[in-house]
């Protein structure tokens, strides 16, 4: 059994005031100044802690209110109203919802998993990963009690080709020159996001986080920090074809990523020569028919394939193609071809929450890259201002590497714990066993059709209520 993998987290405060859902509007004029004012009774001390941050002009009353409405409901002159904080509403977009963003902030700040009471408040189901449920069972398929550490659940995964048999030469095990697999203690790899107001310092921080977590950070080769600044073995340089031909990339890499193109083999061969110690991952964009391409890449010698969707978890080409289905098709294609274990399938794009990690793996990925979450961990609001050339409201460019690293460790620590929660509930002790386990999951389309498909007939004259 591998050594127990624990991510040590500690609270790392925000640099800016986090934006939360609530807003309080309290008229001061006409206040009766009650001796026992509802404001002083606030369980969360919102009014006592109220302050104005003049740099951001943020009034903390919007950020600290927890929406219990007691002040609204008890003020004798009804001087207090509730609103939804407009800054909150404007966070992110339809995919990166304010709820997801603020929960990511929370995890990066505290390293804790988000917990709340009173049931699930969200939609019945939704697109992509939102229309999946994982399975569990209480009696006939016993689970193990791993969440609180009473039993060990392994999240480790192997990247590379897993041999389905051992080669012997006489009595000796054949040692191969190149490493067949690289181990990662958890199925989460970091990746520098496609855009963002980050700097070299930020990348340093991400690299340190990857190193502390024992995982990897994929980054364009030209961003590769100096050796003194970050351990090179945790970096995955992303090398373009011209770069590959000029022999770029660092010599210590265990993994190198190249981009798929018509001529990817050329780059692949060039890299294999210049980086004999590294595994080469081929990144395949998630386009229509991507599974064919994945298959062909696999058959042509690549041991790691990275299926890349856009940051909303869709095909870059066609918005109706969802990464969930892309992973499933690629996985199934490999299975059908009988070469599933010869390649590692990585997925990226739209992995926003810990549940997406588990679900992507269930759909067939071995591990996933997370990109924007490691930016959001740095308080990014997904406002995309940086894309427009506007200043970053949370000045990510000024964030010190140590802070960046700790925030990302916290986030991944929380993701890891949530993965344990899900695996524990499913009774799965090893992340490698989770891959492709669609039998341990449920899909909305099938369930809904089975349960309600027959309920479409309205008899003449009947009324709906």
């Amino acid at each position: 059994m591998p050594r127990k993998y624990v991510i040590h987290t500690k609270e790392v405060p925000n640099r800016f005031k986090a934006i939360s859902r609530s807003g309080v509007i309290a008229w001061e004029e006409g206040c009766l100044k009650c001796a026992v004012c509802v404001k002083t009774q606030c369980v969360y001390h919102v009014y006592e802690h109220r302050s104005l941050d003049p740099r951001q002009m943020i009034d903390s009353i919007d950020n600290e209110c927890m929406n219990c409405l007691r002040c609204v409901q008890s003020c004798p002159k009804q001087l207090i109203h509730k609103a939804i904080n407009p800054e909150y509403k404007s966070l992110g977009d339809d995919y990166w919802t304010p709820d997801i963003i603020s929960k990511l902030w929370y995890q990066a700040e505290t390293g804790k998993i988000p917990v709340s009471g009173a049931g699930y408040p969200g939609p019945f189901s939704g697109p992509n990963f939102d229309s999946m449920w994982t399975d569990m069972s209480e009696i006939v398929r016993p689970t193990r009690d791993g969440i609180h550490g009473r039993e060990y659940i392994s999240t480790a995964v192997d990247l590379g080709t897993k041999k389905d048999h051992l080669d012997f030469k006489g009595m000796e095990l054949v040692e191969e020159s190149a490493p067949a697999v690289v181990a990662a203690p958890l199925p989460i790899l970091l990746r520098v996001p496609a855009f963002g107001a980050f700097e070299q310092e930020t990348i340093k921080g991400w690299a340190r986080a990857a190193s502390r977590l024992g995982t990897f950070l994929a980054l364009p080769a030209e961003m590769n920090p100096e050796e003194a600044e970050a351990p090179q073995s945790c970096l995955i340089p992303i090398v373009s074809l011209p770069q590959a031909q000029s022999g770029q990339g660092n010599g210590h890499s265990l993994l190198v990523e190249i981009l798929w193109s018509e001529h990817w083999r050329k780059a692949f061969e060039r890299m294999s020569k210049s980086h004999p110690g590294a595994l080469i991952c081929v990144r395949v964009p998630f386009l229509k028919g991507a599974e064919e391409r994945v298959l062909s890449v696999a058959k042509n010698g690549a041991s790691i394939i990275h299926l890349e969707a856009d940051f909303h978890g869709r095909s870059q080409q066609d918005e109706t193609l969802l990464v969930r289905d892309g992973i499933r098709s690629a996985h199934l294609a490999l299975v059908q071809e009988g070469i599933r274990d010869e390649v590692t399938l990585l997925a990226s794009g739209g992995i926003a929450m810990a549940e997406h990690v588990a679900k992507a793996i269930i759909c067939g990925a071995d591990a996933v890259f997370i990109d924007f979450p490691i930016l959001i961990a740095l308080e990014c609001r997904m406002c995309l201002r940086c894309k427009e050339g506007l200043s970053c409201p949370v000045e990510i460019n000024t964030a010190p590497a140590s802070w960046v690293a700790s925030r990302v460790v916290n986030l991944v620590g929380a993701f890891h714990n949530q993965l344990l929660e899900v695996m524990g509930a499913m009774g799965i002790r090893d992340a490698r066993r989770l891959r492709g386990e669609v039998g341990r999951s449920m899909f909305f389309d099938e369930l809904d059709e089975a349960a309600f498909g027959q309920m479409g007939y309205l008899k003449e004259g009947y009324e709906l209520e």
């Binding site: 509007i25 109220r50 003049p54 002009m57 009034d59 109203h81 904080n85 506007l390």
Partner: protein, 152 residues
């Protein structure tokens, strides 16, 4: 006249037409660092201190845009904002700053203006002001040294 030569802190009620995040960013792109936009759940949330701190920290002028009179979701938020703005104007006048550095514009019931209309109107209105004597040495919007997170 280049209307971007003075900086404006613009507080606005989120119920002002076309004041979503897209429009807001478009304005920031258009006017660059000379405008800073602050959405409020209601203009009545604004306190005089918000205006003063904006003037103190980064803005040549601080204005509030509200819903039309009688159309506040919170019944009287904009009326309260008006009184608070009046107080802020008195305060800055008392130290010799032009009253017009602070002001309130209420939307009109009949012909509702958008956030962009207000931004344009106010940017041109404040362009006539002399540089704020409070912002010396002139630091612009993006100076990270300005941190005075004191209590409201």
């Amino acid at each position: 006249m280049d209307i971007r030569k003075r900086s404006l802190a613009l507080f606005y009620c989120q119920n002002v037409p076309q004041s979503g995040i897209k429009q807001r960013q478009a304005l920031e792109k258009l006017y660059g660092p000379s405008i800073k936009l602050f959405p409020l759940p209601c203009s009545g949330r604004l306190e005089p201190l918000h205006l003063l701190r904006a003037l103190e920290e980064f803005a040549d002028a601080a204005y509030v845009v509200t819903c039309p009179e009688g159309a506040c979701r919170y019944f009287e938020g904009n009326l309260r904002a008006r009184k608070r703005v009046e107080l802020a104007r008195k305060i800055i006048a008392s130290i010799g700053l032009e009253e017009d550095r602070v002001g309130i514009v209420m939307n009109e019931k009949e012909r509702q203006k958008s956030l962009a209309d207000f931004a344009k109107e106010l940017m041109s209105r404040v362009s006539g002001l002399r540089p704020s004597p409070v912002l010396r040495p002139r630091t612009g919007f993006e100076d990270p040294e300005r941190k005075q997170g004191d209590k409201l």
